[in-house]
Amino acid sequence: MAEKIGVYIDESSVAPLLNAEELAAYVKEKCGGACPIVKAHKRLSSPDGVAMIKADVDAGELDAVLICGTSPRVDWDVFTFGDKVLVDRVNLREFVTLSYKNPDGSSVAAGGPIPAELRSMVQDYLRMGVVKMQKMNRPNPELPETNRTILVLGGGFTGMNAALAAAGAGAEVILVEKSDKLGGRAAGLYKTFPMNYPYLEATDTGIDRLIGLVTGNSRIKVRLNTTLKLLAGAPAMYEATLASGGNEEKVPVGSVVLAAGWTPMETEALAPFGYGKFKNVVTSAEFEAMVKAGDIKRPSDGKEPKTVVFIQCVGSRDKSLDRPYCSGFCCMYTAKQAILTKDHIPDSQSYVFYMDIRSPGKMYDEFTRRAMEEYGARYIRGRVAMVYPKDGKMIVRGADTLAGTQVEVEADLVVLAAGAEAAKGAPQLAEKLRISYDKYGFFMESHPKLKPVETNTAGVYLAGSCQGPKDIPQSVGQGSAAAAKVLALFSKDMLESDPQISRVDIKRCVGCGKCIMTCPFKAIKEVEFRGQKKAEVIETVCQGCGICTSTCPQGAIQLSHFTDNQILAEVNALCQS
């Protein structure tokens, strides 16, 4: 309940149509009893404006601040004044001065008389803002003790990097890998395209070193052959059920980093190119294994291939397969493999069929150019129409769209750069964690720019290719970012949850469970209180939508900032004028 509201009117939002001082006078007249401070300022969001408000807040006279100016969707991170005051916004810019037009559609002349409609509009919004603020409750979330163990799902490049970053900052980590060894996809790589200076040579992936660091870190407990069966609870107090073999174990964890990785596309996409039918058509992963073994041979006869055809975008960017996305890293590893082929078989000739070369990383384009210019790989822009055997060779027929001609290459070996798919079982895992995933099975972040590694399940973060195809540097970066977010979450003694959450009035709750049924986030649980069933909000899970509040017939669960009384106050302010 706010009683001493500081009302601040942003001149830059209302001028020149309206006079901020006049609006301040109106607030003083109509709502003065509840608003000891009413001020106008040229631009509230400026450092000077914020400092002015802060000074009033620090003087201790206010329990709430009402910013009347821009939309609450703007500058939402500017107007925060600590936990002593409540803050709310009145939208006078977007909703009033910008949108107001005279009934005839003309704009209001600045400095002229203020039309009655405009006046009533701005006054209504001001009154609504004050009465809503008067009914605003002060939130005081109280949380039980927190657990700061981080559960990392996936022992690949991304997961291990996240684990190391977190452990390096002092956190306990449980690293869960469903296979029998760490390393993930990167373990199958011989080398990776260059990731460090001078960005010229394909380099070692460093995966073995990484595995060594992880297994040697006392803060990281590695659990191989293990999967997550269930995650219950809330951030800082999750309980993860881990399954290994026939055994199940419940471990308390604070948060989860998902690094479930990806999987190469399989037969469906590869079949048109003869994969599975002709021995000399292999996937790039199979070819990589040959290179790693130092033994590049034609599977059919064990001879060294002299002509190698790489086909890119196999399964990627293919609407007919419902895989319209670019897998991102194929261009780079194909260039790498073309270079490695020349390294191993100097008299070989590589051909690369491509749609576009996508190499936006640091020095990536230079690297593909080296494949072409220094290693003589011939890049042909066009789709491959068919691959068929003839006289012990594979004929690759396609179009060269730049030359506008048909091309046919007699190849000893055909390598398919298969696209990336979401890891098997990703949707099931997503359901378990109540996070969203796209139609391809990649997990969804909360917001691509604002919350890129957060999910819409609080305390669950994602990193690497499980969110979408990524190369190693991107994955590493995201793994570290996720770790940083988790650490930020744990950086306070108590988790300070988003104050826009629902709370149950335990005296009024009758335990009917309707809120539990409708909460999209499973943020409400049933508890027993003095022998009676009651609802309880898991504050760290609640996302603040308020569906529960509109569901509860007795109004026993109220969403802070948008309580029934606040909205009713606004309704009353509008209906009683």
Partner: protein, 348 residues
Amino acid sequence: MAAVKYIPREKLPEWLKALAAQSRVLVPVEEGGSVVFRQYDPARAPVFGSDATAPPKGAVFPACQELFSYAYGKEGEDNAPTLKLDPKTEAQPTVVFGSKPCGARGFLIFDRVYMGKKFPDPYYIAAREATVFVTMACATVENTCFCHWVGSGPADAAGSDVLLTPVEGGYTVEAVSEKGAKFLDNPALTDGAAKAAEAEAVKKASRDALGEAPDIASSPAALLSLFDDMEFWRDQSDKCVSCGACTYLCPTCYCFSITDEGTGTAGRRMRSWDACMHFQFTLEASGHNPRPTKAHRLKNRVGHKFSYYPTLHDGLIACCGCGRCVKSCPVSVDIREIVQNAVAKAKG
């Protein structure tokens, strides 16, 4: 008191119109199957035959009335806060016409509380003094009537100012208070001496129809002795659904609530009927409730009427026996039965 007068049935509108010219006149009219007191409208025929669904309680004690308005503000150079309170106690001159005598008698129970020496209630007193009750003695009684149990009867004039009695062709009219005497000054009223005997016979017949009242003189002590017998109260209240029909329709129930309503910085403090049968009535901010179950609440209601109030007020039972609580109860909780059960149980 003044001599008996008489008014023929067809002359009633004339009298009512004359009264309505001077003050608000409330008469029982039918509305959607119920009979309620409404301002007299010559186009709507009053219903005098049976007792009104709701008594004329609201005439003196409105379901909701403003105690005062408030306004917060700022004053002077230094913006000093101000608070202004503005009470309204005035009442409008009113005639309640055609209520049963029990409907007026209910105010006797009010009077002792609202017109006490220590805290006389200016709102009530203004309305009470401005209101005249022209009641009508009962020619017939109903299954739920029990005014004779509580020291009253179908022609009990206590609380009334003028008493009508239905006789052949019209009504006898008697002034039964000083206030009432001034009201008989109307040409429609003629001398009623000739009808007086008939009127007395009507009164006696309806009194006889009620039969013998049981002896409930021991109810104050009996109810108190059963205060801790919650099994008894559970049995009495089992079927109660804790609604407020009995209290809101009771001519003697005088409890109220006070609530503030307003937007922003101005509004009103209002007094409104409240019902002791509601859980919220005694609910404290801490969540504690001294009367947590319907058994506790029914105990207080019956106890108040037949024990606590009479103990404090010279034996006057806080019930006028109109029977509305029985008749209007959705599950037919019968206060007569409860009082009798209590008296019997206390005797052992």
